[in-house]
């Protein structure tokens, strides 16, 4: 029996699946698919039937089901090997951290805008100008600006209440709102800055992580170490505080960079403490001559650290994007120095997180 073109096409679609899954399931899936589309058990009976099969292609719904399976099997679905389990966990942590960061950043920005608007008529007019300038377009811009804080916050809260479908909807709506400046800039100035592109990409990357990471086989969403509400409030306070304590003024990425730096430093300190505790325990076990091969599970730590490293790369891109804009304008030296210092600290933290994450990954168990 020779393979028909239809079979070859279906096998080509199955190449979307990871190698471990294809090894386990490919032949079985091909058999099921061919029986499903009506190929007789002994293959095409005559040349006409073989020609008909050669004209057929797997339907879009069949292809879609394989794409979904391919994503899930790479995101640590049931039976996935260790590497994919860690990848899935890291993607889910990234999704949560990214939602938290964007929710806290937009809420803090909105709260500070409202607080500053009460200082003078000029500040109040700045707030309202967003809605009234450029006619109807300005109104759309204002809605997008003020819709982002509740949408990111709702996505974060819904995900942590274990409602991934609702979280996806909120995150998509928030990413649409976050992409509005792209349209705005392209429409009014004809060019788009790297910062605007990075902001929109961050929004859609978060949507992608929420959609891919939280599949039907994924475990519950949880934040390491801190209760979700406290994490949100703490991040808002930290971001707001980092802005108001700088008398020379701040840029729009200062609070985000500060929040990331504090989280990354806390994560690295926790990992250093855990490593020291491990060393002490091993020394004690050696002295007691009762050392057993205790299974050490560093996978959750690897997932958290790698997710933070990935988030750091995004923060770094945003920081660098704004710095590129800032270098073109006449800014106070203190402000510029702060931005450069934050960029340097972020680079160091991302490198440290990546190194520690790789070490945790090596220490993680090899079985799924």
């Amino acid at each position: 029996m020779t393979a028909t073109l239809l079979e070859q096409r279906y096998r080509a679609v199955l190449r979307l699946l990871p190698a471990y899954y294809r090894r386990a399931r490919e032949e079985e899936m091909v058999e099921t698919f061919l029986l499903r589309v009506g190929v007789a058990e002994d293959g095409a009976e005559d040349e006409d039937e073989a020609r008909d099969l050669d004209l057929m292609r797997p339907s879009w719904r069949e292809v879609g089901s394989v794409v979904t399976l391919a994503v899930r099997s790479r995101m640590g679905a049931a039976g996935a090997p260790s590497g994919y389990v860690t990848l899935g966990g890291a993607v889910r942590h990234f999704a949560l951290f990214a939602l938290l960061l964007q929710a806290a950043a937009t809420v803090t920005e909105a709260a500070l805008s409202l607080a500053w608007s009460s200082r003078s008529a000029y500040d109040r007019s700045l707030l309202l100008d967003v809605f009234t300038s450029d006619g109807g377009y300005g109104w759309a811009r204002g809605v997008a600006l003020w819709a982002a804080p509740p949408l990111w916050t709702a996505a974060y809260a819904t995900l942590l209440r274990q409602r991934p479908r609702g979280a996806r909807l909120f995150a998509v709506a928030a990413a649409v709102a976050a992409s509005e400046p792209l349209v705005d800039e392209a429409h009014w100035s004809g060019t788009v800055t790297a910062l605007t592109v990075a902001t929109a990409v961050f929004g859609w990357l978060t949507v992608l992580a929420v959609c891919c990471g939280f599949h039907a086989d994924a475990g519950p969403a949880w934040l390491p170490a801190v209760p979700p509400g406290l994490a949100f409030l703490g991040t808002c306070v930290l971001m707001g505080g980092s802005v108001v304590i700088r008398p020379e003024g701040v840029d729009s990425q200062w609070a985000t960079g500060t929040a990331f730096a504090v989280a990354a430093a806390a994560c690295l300190a926790a990992r250093a403490l855990a490593a020291r505790t491990d060393r002490d325990r091993n020394d004690r076990d050696r002295n007691d001559r009762a050392r057993t091969d205790r299974p050490r599970n560093d996978r959750p730590a690897a997932e958290t650290t790698l997710a933070l490293a990935a988030l750091g790369l995004v923060v770094l891109t945003l920081r660098a994007g704004l710095l590129a804009v800032e270098l073109d304008v006449d800014l106070p030296a203190g402000l510029l120095a702060g931005a450069v210092a934050q960029l340097a600290v972020t680079v160091l933290l991302v490198a440290a997180l990546a190194a520690v994450g790789a070490r945790d990954l090596r220490a993680a168990p090899r079985t799924g």
């Binding site: 029996m1 399931r25 032949e27 079985e28 899936m29 091909v30 058999e31 099921t32 698919f33 061919l34 029986l35 499903r36 058990e41 002994d42 293959g43 719904r61 069949e62 879609g64 089901s65 394989v66 794409v67 979904t68 399976l69 899930r72 099997s73 679905a77 049931a78 039976g79 039907a216 086989d217 475990g219 519950p220």
Partner: protein
């Protein structure tokens, strides 16, 4: 078994399809379609996602493998845990259906109280 999850419609019909005998992938697809009177039409990728999950949860297990015309067929069977989970889900659905039926009957019995049913049925 992992953390209990609510059973999806696909998982419910796959478990039901395996109650009488072990079946291979295509056999399950056919049975699910028949059991659901055509309402549930699983794609091959979806079926194997469901089979992976049910196997990991210990609700189904591999029964045997056969090679026919050079092609691999794996037959799956329902485990005792799978039967218990299906029984529990079926009972839960039946209880929901009974409650709905009682409410519908009560609404129909109430004289002219139900808005939208004032004209009765034709």
């Amino acid at each position: 078994m992992t953390t209990p999850r609510s059973m999806t419609q696909s998982a419910f019909f796959v478990l039901t399809a395996l109650t009488d005998e072990p079946r291979h992938g295509y056999g399950i697809l056919q049975e699910v379609e028949e059991l659901s009177e055509g309402r549930v039409e699983l794609r091959v990728g979806t079926l194997y996602g469901v089979l992976d999950r049910l196997t990991a949860d210990g609700l189904i297990a591999l029964d045997r493998e056969e090679v026919q015309q050079g092609r691999l067929r794996r037959y799956y069977r329902l485990t005792d845990e799978g039967l218990a989970a299906l029984d529990e889900e079926a009972e839960r659905m039946a209880a929901g259906a009974r409650a709905a039926s009682r409410r519908i009957a009560a609404r129909r019995a109430a004289p002219g109280a139900a808005p939208g049913l004032a004209g009765g049925t034709a």
